[in-house]
Symmetry: C2
Subunit: 370 residues, 2 copies
């Protein structure tokens, strides 16, 4: 079965919307934040911990799994769900963003991308067909089309050429995709240019994918430009398909994305911040290494319903961080991921109540207080 | 309330015995393996994971907590149980072993031990009184007397002098101990010498502690000598008090210890091995980094009831190890600790059936097969 997006409610004042995405591994409500399990695990966490946070879907990285342990081993294990013991929906990206962010040197042609492995420097060649072949073997619920992630700022002519090529790559990937139980999403590119984003959204939609994402964001473009990139595209995407904004996990960006019609977000931010001792709170990020928390016997955030806040104090987590204990990163990962998932739950409620803009203004006021 | 040891059954052919230790934080059956939570956490694990493994009691290190975060902070948190969110019994050691194993230079006098911090090299002075004062503040269920851990081999005259001093230290500690809810255990020293071990066991017993441990083991003396150190002491310890062998966690040593009348063991071995990719099995230790496990889609050990074996394959854990994912150490810590706790459960059954020696022989035959 392919995923099916069910639209539940459109907010009155914005493009915000509530829905449900039905998959072969269960349904989940949108808007939703998707934790990242790069190497077939969300760093330090078990699936049970993710279920407990109401995680609807997780992401895993095709590029990383292609290199380690290799798609064939995951396939022999019975696919990614069995390999990593995750019973909920899984989305795999296409490798396009990793080629952009990790590869030291790359040579992009019509055929695909030649680049060096970030692990051992060996020669790699990723094409739209190869990316889909690998994802077919991984057997995720949702595969992403292989695209070129354009940097920022981008020359208009290059952005145009690349966006058109990404479209051809999307078609090539779609043509070879052959996994009846896996959905395939298209990716909108177009850099920072309104006409290219519109063109990409319309033409990608014409190819007919099971869902659509907006790529080429979180590449250093700044918030205002990112919000525009979304605005340029979402009006031209079909209303009956789910929309996913790639690589975005800052709380304010999630809110602004939802306002502009986005349903799903992913980002390594909550786990990466956690490993460095940072925690999201509604009054902004705090760093638990700070000595002012030495004797603070309250939870990371008052009223937070996560496992960490229900059981541990800032003083304890600070002690673990000061002692380089791994448990600190684990506890803060739980808090930070739950924070973003809870944020999407609150956004759903705001959509139901048609007060999304009010919710945003209050959130930002508190978040930027410190 | 002080801990109370209830003797349930003596094995016919050995000194092995089954019992229950009653504490203020619940009762647990002995023999029992005690996981080590050096810095107020069993590395990478939560209390819930320890409860699920049937962990009866955990150990935490006075020396480490004294330095970080400091006894006063733990005390202000409401004691160690509240600080680390552990609801079961906790034993704290005295710091004696850490002075022996971690301190670069040390100066031992009748008063106590002057040494340098292993963290920042600053001057520290630990005395029997100070150790007890710190443990009183930590508010563990069981405090250990401050002792000198004699190395191996030891000069007889030195061992004699040190053992007599440890006895005086035990008395000094007992005199200042003032925590009605905390039990205090004595430690038998005496190096490798039969008469000194006997002397230490008898004289320490005369002081009247709530339980007794055998120290000065696991200092490079080899298995045969260690087993003798136990044999020299246990016959002279009171039968109605629990007996704890310090720092021993090799499966065969646990079995040999139980045969010689030991009730409780502790060791960092299961968690340390786990972080290096090693797993206990009944057919000996295996290293999951080995490439032969690349496509091994079976659990670490067949029929093991731990969370890891019920949910993950060797191929997956090998992948996590190869990718330096922290989850690997966490999953193997769960397996290894559960392996040792399950071993003590099996030993209890063997004691009930009066076939402890047979159990040992079969275990060793399998364990040393590879």
């Amino acid at each position: 079965m392919k995923v099916k997006y069910e639209l539940l409610k459109k907010e009155k004042n914005t493009m915000g919307r509530n829905g449900i995405l039905h998959t072969n591994h269960g349904s989940f409500k949108t808007p939703m934040f998707m934790p990242v399990g790069t190497l077939a695990n969300v760093k330090t966490l078990t699936p049970e911990e993710l279920y407990e946070m109401n995680s609807g879907i997780i992401l895993s990285n095709t590029y990383h799994l292609w290199l380690r342990p290799g798609a064939d081993i995951v396939n022999k294990a019975g696919g990614l769900h069995k390999f990593m013991n995750y019973k909920g929906p899984i989305l795999t990206d296409s490798g396009g963003f990793q080629v952009f962010s990790l590869a030291k040197r790359k040579d992009i042609t019509e055929e695909g991308v030649k680049f060096k492995s970030h692990i051992d420097g060996s020669d790699l060649f990723l094409t739209p067909e190869k990316s889909i072949e690998v994802q077919n073997k991984l057997d995720s619920d949702i595969a992403m089309s292989f695209d070129e992630c354009i940097g920022y700022p981008a020359d208009y002519e290059y952005a145009k050429m690349s966006t058109e090529r990404t479209l051809r790559w999307a078609k090539r990937g779609k043509d070879v995709h052959n996994n009846e139980n896996q959905s395939l999403f298209g990716i909108v590119q177009g850099g920072e240019y309104e006409d290219l984003r519109k063109f990409s959204a319309l033409e990608t939609s014409k190819l007919g994918f099971d869902g659509y994402s907006i790529g080429g964001t979180s590449v250093g473009e700044g918030k205002d430009v990112m919000y525009k990139m979304i605005e340029y595209a979402t009006p031209y995407l079909p209303e009956d398909k789910v929309r996913y904004l790639m690589g975005v996990g800052d709380p304010i960006d999630i809110i602004e994305g939802v306002i502009r019609g986005i349903d799903i977000f992913d980002c390594v931010l909550p786990t990466r911040l956690a490993r460095h001792g940072n925690a999201f709170t509604h009054n902004g990020k705090i760093n638990l290494r700070n000595s002012k928390f030495k004797e603070d016997f309250t939870s990371v955030e008052h009223n937070c319903d996560c496992y960490t806040c229900k059981n541990y104090t800032k003083a304890y987590i600070r002690h673990l961080l000061a002692s380089n204990e791994i448990l600190a990163g684990r506890l803060l990962s739980i808090h930070n991921i739950r924070f973003l998932i809870k944020l999407t739950e609150d956004l759903r409620e705001a959509i139901d109540n048609d007060n999304l803009l009010e919710y945003r203004d209050t959130f930002i006021k508190n978040y930027q207080k410190n």
